[in-house]
């Protein structure tokens, strides 16, 4: 029989271990989320990240080693983004009917997300690097990282802030929408997609196909609007 330590050394250098831990952590999160009737506070991404961070800290594993396994999951973000064309196509009549309202709401939401995030961080004394990293945080990960770099932020910090924002949008968003008594699935989906990009879209899709399609559309258009507008506005303000 081999020494357990040797087995650990072998496993920890292969992508299999961290790919499996990622899936197990997510399944635990998803199970809890379903057990409590999709309660937004038990967001599966949040639970999975908490589990994984604890495991990596306890086993003293660095993120680069972890990512060698997790990159296979990360990679699927690309084709999944492409696949968002399908719910969008299925809902195209609804989207076309409210195109004007949708686009106006989207631009307002998009600008208010970036402006309030940057202004609050700056007002509370964050440094310029953090302010630039936080401004594009409502945009989906790869685009937000690109924007952050242009503004002088730290792209890898932005990636984390984007995920935290998505989790916040998916957990607090539905509660706020209930408080505001907004029952229209189009408006709910759009709001969650603008504020919480793909994580918000994932949540919306689980609740309603209409909300999911509007959230996916909002995520795409928000990315487009922010990528074009934010660097221009930034150059003008600073």
């Amino acid at each position: 029989m081999n020494d357990l330590g040797d087995i650990w050394v072998y496993l920890s250098s292969s992508p299999l271990l961290h790919l499996t831990t990622t899936l197990v952590a997510y399944l635990i999160g998803a199970r809890l989320y379903r057990r409590f009737n999709l309660n937004p506070l038990l967001n599966p991404v949040l639970i999975a990240v908490v589990i994984l961070v604890s495991v990596l800290l306890v086993t003293d594993t660095d993120y680069a080693t972890y990512f060698e396994g997790a990159q296979f999951v990360h990679f699927l973000l690309g084709p999944a983004t492409v696949a968002l064309a399908i719910p969008l196509y299925n809902q195209i009549d609804r989207v076309r009917r409210s195109a004007v309202a949708l686009l106006s709401a989207l631009v307002l939401g998009s600008l208010s997300a970036a402006a309030s995030a940057a202004a609050i961080a700056w007002g509370l004394g964050a440094g310029p690097e953090v302010v630039a990293s936080i401004a594009p945080k409502s945009v989906t990960t790869p685009i937000a990282m690109g924007i952050s770099e242009k503004l002088g932020g730290l792209p890898s910090l932005t990636a984390v802030l984007v995920i935290l924002t998505g989790v916040l949008g998916a957990t607090l968003g539905p509660l706020l929408l209930n408080l505001l008594r907004i029952r229209d699935w189009r408006a709910r989906g759009l709001a969650i997609g603008v504020a919480g990009h793909g994580i918000g879209t994932a949540r919306a899709m689980q609740v309603s196909e209409i909300a999911g399609a509007f959230a996916g559309l909002a995520m795409g258009l928000n990315a487009l609007a922010t990528a074009i507008l934010l660097p221009l506005i930034w150059a003008w303000v600073f």
Partner: protein, 120 residues
């Protein structure tokens, strides 16, 4: 399943190439999404296998954000240092974005005089 997955990857690949060639400020997958959407409009319908693959992939969309989220490990020190500005900014701006977008959408819909079709 295999054809559908290949189609999704091909759209992404063409998207990446277009983005690199024309220096478009948008990521490749988003351009790929637009290409697939145009394709579906031309074809007037979603083939059943593609619908299945997409549903499978999208029903676990949140899983795909877990590796990037775990990257919080890299910035523990920086986040701890700026905990208050980062925390308050994230929470408040997310709530602002949700409220502004939803209220604007409902308001503009009402202005244009149409209602319904988005009800539960």
């Amino acid at each position: 399943m295999l054809e559908s997955l290949t189609l999704l990857l091909a759209c992404q690949l063409v998207g990446e190439v277009l983005v690199a060639y024309f220096a478009i400020p948008v990521p490749g997958p988003v351009v790929g999404m637009v290409l697939l959407f145009i394709g579906l409009c031309i074809r007037r319908g979603v083939p059943a296998p593609l619908q299945q693959t997409a549903s499978g992939l999208l029903s676990h969309l949140s899983l795909l954000f877990v590796p990037a989220g775990t990257g919080v490990l890299l910035h523990v020190a920086l986040i701890r240092e700026a905990l208050i500005p980062i925390g308050v900014s994230l929470v408040v701006s997310t709530l602002v974005a949700v409220a502004v977008t939803a209220l604007a959408m409902v308001g503009f819909e009402r202005l244009s005089g149409r209602k319904g079709s988005g009800g539960p």
